[in-house]
Subunit: 397 residues, 2 copies
């Protein structure tokens, strides 16, 4: 017997754009909610950029398993449709600039007056309150503002962007968390909520190690490349191999002994420069040289297999093609190879939220702009195909 | 009237260690759950490293607002205590290596047999299933394995670690998300669940832009430092100012026109090298030189203020001290200055999950190892102080 999906029966109005909101909506869909992506008649900004550009993949990846409808917030008839949908919905999520929905007369207070059970969820760069709420925000500028760039890169270089769009996705997954928290509470109280998640807030905890070094050293740590922020753990680095790189970290004495055994260098155990973590940290260059002398003679997979066999914490540096082909991610169902209408043959992700005995729904490719107008407006608001056609002509949708 | 916290009444057994599990437990506590941090009599590994080291701050930050008890899983009496606690609990979370709890006879199946309403939640590097489930994992090695390092840094350099511990924290917040999803479903079905979150799964979506570039270019993108992965947006970079750096990104033509106006360089609008995004991307070095000619004559705050006034997406690169002092984060209550028993005067974070009309509970400093043994074992299992003292002597706790 198939278990029902956790969010079966929940209806979500997803005004998400670009990465943050759409990721949240995607996870809700993959947990079984009916997620209706609502776009302006021009399409949300990522869709606008998606055609034959590097935005195609992100758009496709973040909008699987959603219905796609259009709705013009600038039209009174459009806003009336929204009010109708809100009466049937459990969650509305958006990541516009703060105040956008209010300016159209469909802000949190307006909509919750119509449906007090609604969870109105807003994701922003800096939050719905506070001095900086109106600052414009994209992942790269939030990386700058939140401290990410200050701690990425080498000490003598420019502050560096982390490659992943971590601000956007930390925003989106915290938004999901807050929505689920509010939905849980609603089961007990019957009341909806207004959820406020700021990317800058969501990024702060990830600075833990760097701030730890700052308090411990009593000064701002330098950018340390691949090394530990307080330079107090060694080995802790990325090492060259014959065909790429591996990362190795030793936290306990046992890890170091295991590594020495793997390297077949027992004499290092008697070397006073490597006697304990404090000594190794002081002689970090010599430690790294010893490790790289071993790794650089081998292929990265050989280093990795030997390391795992010796209980050493190690991994190969995988590039994107390695990751897209990663047999483990495919075996877990996290990645699926499919023929996608927008991308051709491509590998697309499922959800990281897994519940034993309940497989996530199969991936369904993202839909064309407004492709579900007839179905959604018909089913939720009882409109006929002719009425939907008229709405389109009137630019209400 | 104060609103109740969303998770009031929920009891969580938090076996989290280091960052991933503890972050999840911290968020549950800040949403109103009673979170009982359970450690071995030696303390969890981050506590062990915390004393007078750079681990103090992360430990303190991730264990605010939790009760702290000890429990020895290697003792039969200890496991009996755990079974007693599980009967009273809603959630058990752990981020041990897969199979650790099972080896002690207290795995998900054992405990859910005692309490079918229990949510058993496991966070791991690679998941509870699949080929790689037993790989050892820390943030730095998951960064290597998941593709983060392949897309961070400059093309000619070594693959680079992103400064934030994003794998750990993405793991922890996805764990929170999955727990709340299961708690929501339990309200409707009465049944608990086994939750399985892998860091590697949770990181994959953050590669969106880079994978987009990979599909668009038809080859693996080079590491592009602070520039766009497909080199198809400009300006998109970090620029030097008189006293630091700013990040600037122009997505639409309007942003570029606004920037030209802010720079007071109207002639650039007529320059064919900058005619549209395609032209600017082709002449990226010239674009960046023009922008930096402007920024490098000003302080970063002056650039930022001017940019915001012109609707340009820009932010200063803040260092950790700027972030810890950020007036906006303090105004929002995300950061609090306090005298902390472990850290002295320090700035500690609250939760990024915000609900209008419900302030998160005030921060309460992390507790000493086993500080709440009497209170928790007394209240939940009805043990007397003498019985708790005997358990301690017998090394059951």
């Amino acid at each position: 017997m198939t278990q029902p999906q956790p969010l079966a029966g929940i209806v979500v109005l997803d005004f998400g754009q670009i990465y943050n909101g759409p990721y949240c909506g995607f996870l809700l869909a993959m947990a079984g909610a009916r997620v209706i992506k609502i776009e302006s008649p021009q399409g949300e900004s990522l869709r606008g950029r998606a055609e034959r550009s590097s935005a195609s993949y992100p758009f496709a990846m973040l909008n699987s398993n959603k219905d796609a409808i259009t709705l013009n917030l600038k039209s009174e008839r459009g806003r009336e449709l929204l009010r109708g949908l809100v009466a049937k919905a459990d969650v509305l999520l958006e990541n516009f600039s703060p105040g956008t929905m209010d300016r159209h007369g469909v802000g949190a207070a307006d909509l919750r007056a119509l449906n007090p059970r609604l969870i109105y969820a807003a994701a922003t760069g800096f939050g719905r309150t506070g001095l900086h709420r109106d600052y414009l925000a994209m992942d790269i500028t939030v990386q700058a503002m939140s401290g990410v760039m200050a701690i990425t890169g080498d000490g003598d270089g420019t502050p560096l962007k982390a490659g992943p769009a971590l601000c956007d996705f930390l925003g989106g997954i915290h938004l999901y968390s807050a929505i689920m928290t509010a939905l849980f509470q609603r089961e007990r109280t019957g009341a909806g909520a207004v959820v406020d998640v700021a990317m800058q807030d969501a990024v702060f905890p990830t600075l833990a190690s760097a701030i730890g070094a700052r308090y411990f050293l009593g000064r701002h740590p330098a950018r340390t490349g691949n090394r530990h922020f307080a330079l107090s753990l060694a080995p802790y680095n990325v090492y060259r191999t014959r065909d790429g790189y591996v990362a190795i970290i030793c936290i306990r004495e046992g890890h170091w002994r295991n590594l020495v055994a793997a390297m077949q260098r027992p004499e290092l155990l008697d070397d006073p420069r490597f006697a304990d973590m404090t000594a190794r940290a002081k002689n970090m260059d010599a430690v790294d040289a010893a490790v790289e002398a071993w790794t650089s003679a081998l292929d990265k997979d050989a280093v990795f297999r030997t390391a795992q066999a010796h209980d050493i914490i190690c991994a190969p540096v995988q590039d994107l093609d390695d990751v897209l082909d990663d047999p483990h991610l495919h075996a877990r169902g996290m990645l699926t190879r499919m023929h996608h209408p927008m991308l051709g043959d491509a590998v697309l992700p499922s959800t990281p939220l897994r519940f034993e005995g309940v497989d996530p729904p199969p991936l369904r490719a993202c839909r064309d702009l407004g492709a579900d107008n007839e179905a959604v407006y018909g089913e939720l608001l009882g409109l006929s195909p002719n009425e939907v056609a008229r709405l389109r002509r009137d630019e209400a949708i």
